[in-house]
Subunit: 381 residues, 5 copies
Amino acid sequence: MRSSTLFARINRHTRMAAPRVNGHARPPTRQHPEPPPTPTRPPVPPSASLVEFGAYVRGGRVAAEDIPRALALVREHNTGLETPEAFVWVGLHEPRAPEVEWLAGLFGLHPLSVEDAIKAHQRPKVERYGDTLFIVLKTVNFLGDRAVDANGEIIETGEIMVFVGPDFVITVRHGDICPLAEVRARLEATPKLLERGPTGVLHAIADHVVDTYLTVADRMQAELEEVEAAVFADVSSRDINRIYQLKREMIEMKRAMTPLEAPLRSLPQRRMIPSEMRDYFRDVGDHLSRVCEQVESSNELCNSILQAALARSNALANEDMRKISSWVAILAVPTMIAGIYGMNFDHMPETRWTFGYPLVLGVMVVVCTLLYRAFRRNGWL
Amino acid sequence: MRSSTLFARINRHTRMAAPRVNGHARPPTRQHPEPPPTPTRPPVPPSASLVEFGAYVRGGRVAAEDIPRALALVREHNTGLETPEAFVWVGLHEPRAPEVEWLAGLFGLHPLSVEDAIKAHQRPKVERYGDTLFIVLKTVNFLGDRAVDANGEIIETGEIMVFVGPDFVITVRHGDICPLAEVRARLEATPKLLERGPTGVLHAIADHVVDTYLTVADRMQAELEEVEAAVFADVSSRDINRIYQLKREMIEMKRAMTPLEAPLRSLPQRRMIPSEMRDYFRDVGDHLSRVCEQVESSNELCNSILQAALARSNALANEDMRKISSWVAILAVPTMIAGIYGMNFDHMPETRWTFGYPLVLGVMVVVCTLLYRAFRRNGWL
Amino acid sequence: MRSSTLFARINRHTRMAAPRVNGHARPPTRQHPEPPPTPTRPPVPPSASLVEFGAYVRGGRVAAEDIPRALALVREHNTGLETPEAFVWVGLHEPRAPEVEWLAGLFGLHPLSVEDAIKAHQRPKVERYGDTLFIVLKTVNFLGDRAVDANGEIIETGEIMVFVGPDFVITVRHGDICPLAEVRARLEATPKLLERGPTGVLHAIADHVVDTYLTVADRMQAELEEVEAAVFADVSSRDINRIYQLKREMIEMKRAMTPLEAPLRSLPQRRMIPSEMRDYFRDVGDHLSRVCEQVESSNELCNSILQAALARSNALANEDMRKISSWVAILAVPTMIAGIYGMNFDHMPETRWTFGYPLVLGVMVVVCTLLYRAFRRNGWL
Amino acid sequence: MRSSTLFARINRHTRMAAPRVNGHARPPTRQHPEPPPTPTRPPVPPSASLVEFGAYVRGGRVAAEDIPRALALVREHNTGLETPEAFVWVGLHEPRAPEVEWLAGLFGLHPLSVEDAIKAHQRPKVERYGDTLFIVLKTVNFLGDRAVDANGEIIETGEIMVFVGPDFVITVRHGDICPLAEVRARLEATPKLLERGPTGVLHAIADHVVDTYLTVADRMQAELEEVEAAVFADVSSRDINRIYQLKREMIEMKRAMTPLEAPLRSLPQRRMIPSEMRDYFRDVGDHLSRVCEQVESSNELCNSILQAALARSNALANEDMRKISSWVAILAVPTMIAGIYGMNFDHMPETRWTFGYPLVLGVMVVVCTLLYRAFRRNGWL
Amino acid sequence: MRSSTLFARINRHTRMAAPRVNGHARPPTRQHPEPPPTPTRPPVPPSASLVEFGAYVRGGRVAAEDIPRALALVREHNTGLETPEAFVWVGLHEPRAPEVEWLAGLFGLHPLSVEDAIKAHQRPKVERYGDTLFIVLKTVNFLGDRAVDANGEIIETGEIMVFVGPDFVITVRHGDICPLAEVRARLEATPKLLERGPTGVLHAIADHVVDTYLTVADRMQAELEEVEAAVFADVSSRDINRIYQLKREMIEMKRAMTPLEAPLRSLPQRRMIPSEMRDYFRDVGDHLSRVCEQVESSNELCNSILQAALARSNALANEDMRKISSWVAILAVPTMIAGIYGMNFDHMPETRWTFGYPLVLGVMVVVCTLLYRAFRRNGWL
Ligand SMILES: [Mg+2]
Ligand SMILES: [Mg+2]
Ligand SMILES: [Mg+2]
Ligand SMILES: [Mg+2]
Ligand SMILES: [Mg+2]
Ligand SMILES: [Mg+2]
Ligand SMILES: [Mg+2]
Ligand SMILES: [Mg+2]
Ligand SMILES: [Mg+2]
Ligand SMILES: [Mg+2]
Ligand SMILES: [Mg+2]
Ligand SMILES: [Mg+2]
Ligand SMILES: [Mg+2]
Ligand SMILES: [Mg+2]
Ligand SMILES: [Mg+2]
Ligand SMILES: [Mg+2]
Ligand SMILES: [Mg+2]
Ligand SMILES: [Mg+2]
Ligand SMILES: [Mg+2]
Ligand SMILES: [Mg+2]
Ligand SMILES: [Mg+2]
Ligand SMILES: [Mg+2]
Ligand SMILES: [Mg+2]
Ligand SMILES: [Mg+2]
Ligand SMILES: [Mg+2]
Ligand SMILES: [Mg+2]
Ligand SMILES: [Mg+2]
Ligand SMILES: [Mg+2]
Ligand SMILES: [Mg+2]
Ligand SMILES: [Mg+2]
Ligand SMILES: [Mg+2]
């Protein structure tokens, strides 16, 4: 239980953990100052990190050989249209720097957002660079019971970065939590949703991520209830560990969700979001608020359980102490009497009596019985 | 007491609880991602879930065979009037999706509000979709003493959703708490109130719900006072449970009420609320603020009682420990003396004395008396 | 001490307490939903609840037979004047509904403010209905030492509602705290103040009420200091009760004062307050802020005393435990030695020695002395 | 330690303390309602309370017989000038009402500010009455170690009120803390500063007062560090007292400083502050923010030390309890064995053995040694 | 451990610590009131404190003999240009007053910013004086494990002040943390960054400082995890010390970072920041927010660990107490029985039995075994 692996770090995904040497987590030594932004390796198109790409025209997928051709096809289609009808959707998983830089060149992404997309460990946020929105969402995964005893992790977090331009969406995923395939499948199955274009894709992703928050928050609440029951049966030191672990994971979850609330609420006001999509983003924001409130409540309850566990543990200790002391008293009195009659005085008349011994035994029993009753009456036993 | 049913979950109505297998609550597994919004079953008019519907013209109820005819009748009456004088009021209880969708088609409700009305477990809120207001209110029910020992629930929450259009009100109720019949009866008995139209109905509902909050908050405060008295008589581990349960239910109540405060306060500013109704909504908002403040105070007091219970339990333990130690000391001294005179030395002059034994007994009594007095003087006994 | 009367409720005046059956407070059962606002009894002029009424012209009191005639007289005087010079002041104490409704008819009061004035238990607030201001102030009364042991109440709260119109002031008092007679007497003694009209009366009342807050807050602080001294002398479980009671009454006081701060600060900006009165209302607001800050500090200190009492109680317990354990050790060693020489072995050479007995006694004394010294040195004794 | 003088009140200067009868502080009984503002005694020019007055023209001091003549001289000089070049500076110490009223008549001060200047115990604030600014600053004095054992006071607070008009400054000091002479001396030594006029004097005072806050805050932090060291050496109940006292004085200090932050930050925006002085007031505000943050941190640390002291005290108690219990066990075993061989059975073969006694002694030693080792191994000893 | 050096002060750099006499830290006695701002010594050009200076034209370094000549050269180059292309960068380390005053004369710095640059111990801030920005950043250095046992310091803080004018940057460093050389080297290696002029230098510094915050925050989190593991293995009083130290250093770190958040976020809105630099400052602000949130979380976790450690320590104590009491009971029963058979009555039949002794021994063993089993069953052993 001593191993530092038990209480693994809060703001890091399990799978993105620091390398471990001899079973000890290496303290995270972020390479000290940021290196000069000069490209050390030339940009290359994404290969291993490329999950999928597609060109979509009026809600339908169109074949394209590679990303540049897909983009050309889309731009050709959109020429002359007031609102674009086609877009490209590129999906990446933990890309290396040159791959993102290659895309940045193709789609005109700002170097600062590129840096964030590569480095991960960002906070959730919504930023605008020119006519491109850059959104960072934290994904949350419930590890649940199977994990609770291994290393104390209950949830792990990952990240999804989304670049939303007028005619493209680029999604960059960090961590093993994989909801994007599901989102793409659902969207491709419902062309009406895809017709909304890049903003529709953004909405589908945000909606999905926030729905996951709700599921995870419900699961954590169930955990909390289990801990409540355990504490109110009897307070063991192991229960305290579980409360603390829950508390820690609640804070992790809060950090993943809360910073997103304000920018998501302001998203519908942005000029780049088509007016018919505004209610939909407000709806996502509303669900986010709901889960934030739930986690906040659970978090407050965690504190109260800790307090209650302490108070209960104290009260139980008092009850035990009174019980123990009562029995000590009941045992101490015959011991003292026996001690007295064990003294070696020559003249102790009682010791000569024929019935001295049973008399004393009787006295012992009577005294003990009286003590027992007295302790029961005042509630100590 | 160990059963996880004892501490049931906070944000779920007792009657809407997850299915239980073998007496264990199944962890809530919200079906993972939201299914595609394509209608799986065609819309149907509400039947089992329809509680009542009525057409009202200038405060009086008018007969109508079904909802579409009631609406037609109302719209015909309103034609040409600057402010509508007639409206339809439809009341549902836990409707299924196709029923709400059927109504949405008839009255032109936004799909997002429809989704909320079906799914329940929303947070209290006020939203505008076009010229329809969508309001979610949480109802609160006091379960009280009868429940306290069964599963620790003191209050349960339900929901009322209200769609307010220019010529209709649709109320959707979730959970078993049933105040709407009462509200409808009262309104039908006072035509002056009904003449205010859909906004008047909304006011009557909100007013009623907030009045219930006041009643429940008073009840919870009475519970709190009982717990106070129990803690200040003697701190038992059971008292701690009760404090914690109260705390948890306070948080549940806060979550049900607090998010409503801001939108309710801004409701009078909305263009859709007729100016003569504004003071009335402000009044409801004011009562809501009062009960929020009361629950906030009770909540803060819960924390203090927990703290005080801990400190008292500690202080009582010290007082007990001093008492116990004093008696241990009073018993230990004669035991030690008896031990000394129980030694088997050949030459112990005192054991030869004729009055050695009574003398030693006397010494024991004197020493114990002195000890007793000393302990009384320094307050340990 | 067990009786639930000991910890009476926070937001209720002692004199307005719920009826008690067999010494138990009945749980407060506010009559469930608000009854229809149709007048059940016809309005009547106030009689038993009427404390005083007066017509004032340019700061002097003018004779009038009843309220309607006083009002007529005043309105006649004011006719043609740009700023009214005369006003009526009606003072009520816990009026019944028909009485307030009668006044509402005469002076044109809004039904919502009438409802509040009848029902009491409002939160402090400032509301405008047309050209009438409706102000609710909580009065606070210090019960002090005499009460502390009876039922744990240190302060009780009452209410003053004030209707301020262009030519009238109506004051409604709830609870036994009676400062209005005093205010009226002072104002009648200083015509310059009365000349300021209804707003001047409002200022005098608010100023007086806030001054009382200062007095009460000082008294509570003195209580707090007494508790501090008691805790730092020795932590008894009774001290904890007092801290908690203080804490509870602090919260009651905060609730009575704090909600008034914001509306009182915005009062000077209202068009209805004459410009020469604005500095005076700001001054009251400033004094209110001062007492709010004081109570907030005392409240924070209450938490710290509770914490400190707990920590002290723990530290004292440790000190006691070390002391007790030391004496137990000092007694246990001779007991053990005596036990050894009480064994019945045939061959125990020491028991044959002539000086065996005094030798062993000496050894016991030496060992105990050494132990005693050792415990003194390491600070346990 | 029991005396209520030990924990003197927070918002009162030591030297302005309530009269004490028989060593007990009289509970502060502010004279109940504010008396009518009619002057009971006629205004008189300040005499005993007058510390100094001076007329300053272009940074140099000019002789004047009394305050009215000084003011006449100054006003004569300023006649026709766009920005005044001369001003009067009057300094008072705890003046009586008639004296301040006399000055109010001469300089045209508002009665509300006059009331505040007489009564003291104000909160820090900045108020404007016509073209006069009225500023209340709390002075803070470090009493330090010499006081810590006398009555638990670490700091005491006083007040400086400043009236700033276009051609006068009036400073009113309450409490014994005396920095104004120093400020005046420094200003008279640097005519460039005095040329800035009344606002320059205000700045010099505010700057000086805030610098004192920094000094005092540093001293309190040093105290905090001493307490930290004391707690982490060993937690005694006396340490808890010191933490609590520090906490209380931190709160006193916060109350003296924090309310000034907002008005001081808004001071530079006021029309009455010459533009070249604005950076200087911002600088004072900045230093005030710095010291507020420092005290806030120390205050938070106080809470943590209290928590840590409690946790340490608990952990130490456990460590002691384990140690004590180990020794009890080590002593209890030979006592039990001795008890067994002290039984008076006729047939106890061991007692007949020649080496029975040393054998049993040996067994005792071996068992005790084994126990001792076992306890060392599991860390209890 | 008692030495006051162990818990050194929070808002002071280790290397800037107050002089120590006999190993005791002298309480910090800031020279009481600020001395008159008259220059005591005439300004002199910086020598010992001058780290480096350079003139930069279009991103390249140009040779210059001394600072005035560098400035002349730069100003000559910029003459006639709309946006300056050249600037001077002067770097100082803990300069004396006359040196900064000399620079102030040359570059036209405001005396208030000069004072701050000399005195250090400022709070992080952004101020504008005319067309010069004055920025204070706190640097943070991780001392880590090597320090933890020496004096409890985990991090130390220093300061960087930056004056940013249209054609100059002056950096003043306090404390031994030395990142500026690194920043200068990196900038000189990438002319594109240097071409951005003084604002670019400011960005590079701020970016670097904030990156260091991230590194240090990660390190502190690793410490926190180690402490978690230590507490959850077994709660020792030493663990509590470590938690408290971490807490204290978290607060120190928060104070160093948090006040910068608001001004840094508003920096991009300032007219003096070229529009193409705005995204870059927003990016730094974003990273700052991320690290602030992380430290805030860790800080909250510190509180929870302290709470959990206390609760665990209590629960462990109960578990130990039950174990100890069980063994005491198991030992006390045979002792009592032995005492009874040690009594010296003439008529104790059992003592005459041949198998009395082994029988009693057997009884003892049986009773102890039964007790042992009972205690195991109820979980006390
Ligand atoms: Mg970035
Ligand atoms: Mg589980
Ligand atoms: Mg985790
Ligand atoms: Mg959704
Ligand atoms: Mg469960
Ligand atoms: Mg348990
Ligand atoms: Mg304890
Ligand atoms: Mg929704
Ligand atoms: Mg009950
Ligand atoms: Mg419930
Ligand atoms: Mg109502
Ligand atoms: Mg009750
Ligand atoms: Mg009880
Ligand atoms: Mg009302
Ligand atoms: Mg008293
Ligand atoms: Mg009360
Ligand atoms: Mg007043
Ligand atoms: Mg007192
Ligand atoms: Mg006491
Ligand atoms: Mg005043
Ligand atoms: Mg000291
Ligand atoms: Mg003080
Ligand atoms: Mg200064
Ligand atoms: Mg020190
Ligand atoms: Mg100590
Ligand atoms: Mg400064
Ligand atoms: Mg380490
Ligand atoms: Mg440090
Ligand atoms: Mg960076
Ligand atoms: Mg680690
Ligand atoms: Mg440990």
